[in-house]
Symmetry: C2
Subunit: 192 residues, 2 copies
């Protein structure tokens, strides 16, 4: 039930004690999500961080009738509207289940409690934030430095497995182009 998420914690902070891990497990809540359901809708305050036990999720903005994907999260990764979670303000994007999914939730309040009771979790929180920063930094660099075609190539190389299960039009906005344009990029790429 919690094996994967516990392993995730142990990997980031190897020196966590059994007592600490047990306190952590007491805070976990399992949540099931149907395909098409929302983990979070824009305007809501995000009150949990969620580990994906099973399934595939998409994070996206809905702006002026259009959807702009900002990330995809699959089994074995953490997700959240982390800015909303940290600031306690309404979030600006949606998190949607692209397949049936099982999540392990940890609430904001429980997290603060863990921070207070066991300093080791401060270290976990720090490393999570650092990891998220690094990922976002790389994404940011790609948006500024690479062409759409290069971003698509990168995506194929790095996220092949996710790519299989996501419709192209969702990838298009992630790369920063329209679905039509991505289609043409693909055509051009196959043309050699």
């Amino acid at each position: 039930m919690f094996e994967d998420v516990i392993a995730y914690y142990k990997k980031l902070v190897p020196h966590l004690t059994d007592k600490e891990l047990s306190a952590l497990q007491d805070c976990f809540r399992i949540r099931q999500l149907q395909k098409g359901a929302f983990l979070l809708k824009e305007g809501q305050v995000c009150r949990h961080v969620s580990f994906v036990n099973r399934g595939l999720l998409r994070l996206y903005y809905a702006i002026e009738g259009k959807e702009i994907s900002i990330g995809f999260v699959s089994k074995g990764d953490y997700t959240s509207e982390y800015e909303s979670f940290l600031t306690r303000k309404p979030g600006s994007h949606n998190i949607e289940a692209l397949t049936n999914a099982e999540l392990v939730d940890l609430s904001f309040d429980d997290m603060q409690l863990l921070y207070k009771s066991y300093p080791s979790f401060q270290e976990f929180g720090r490393k999570i934030a650092e990891t998220l920063f690094i990922m976002l930094n790389q994404r940011n660099t790609a948006l500024l430095v690479l062409s759409p075609e290069e971003r698509y190539r990168n995506m194929i190389i790095n996220n092949d497995s996710i790519l299989q299960n996501v419709p192209q039009y969702m990838l298009a906005s992630y790369i920063g182009v329209t679905p039509e344009h991505l289609s043409r990029i693909r055509k051009k790429m196959s043309g050699h």
Copy 2:
């Protein structure tokens, strides 16, 4: 000498003790930077985080003969090639002093030591990473969702003081357009 940087720490983690702050001060090193000099060049491993006591710095990529600005840091803020600092790998961007500047350096090794000796600094590290994440997240959203003109407007509103001292062609790449195009955007904006 260290008043501003100490205040920065106190603000993020109010419960830091005098003993902890004193240990921190022992790790600080002042560094002076001439206008045009580099705090860091791409390819180097970033071994410090630096608080800006005085002056203005620019972070940028140099790609294929072009420079792409990714941020500006002025008095009262922290800067670093944080990804390189965290991963201990060579960094990919440059940090240049746009004016004469005075920095307060804290080394990676000292920081790890502080983390180990005083758990409160874990909390500081966490909050720093969280803050950086939030800033980067907002920047990312702007790049995906807003038009160049809207990004320029935002920049005027949020960073007016920095803007005064930075040549326009450096702002252009930050916004994601060529200098010529930014010039035209400004013309169009003044045209009403």
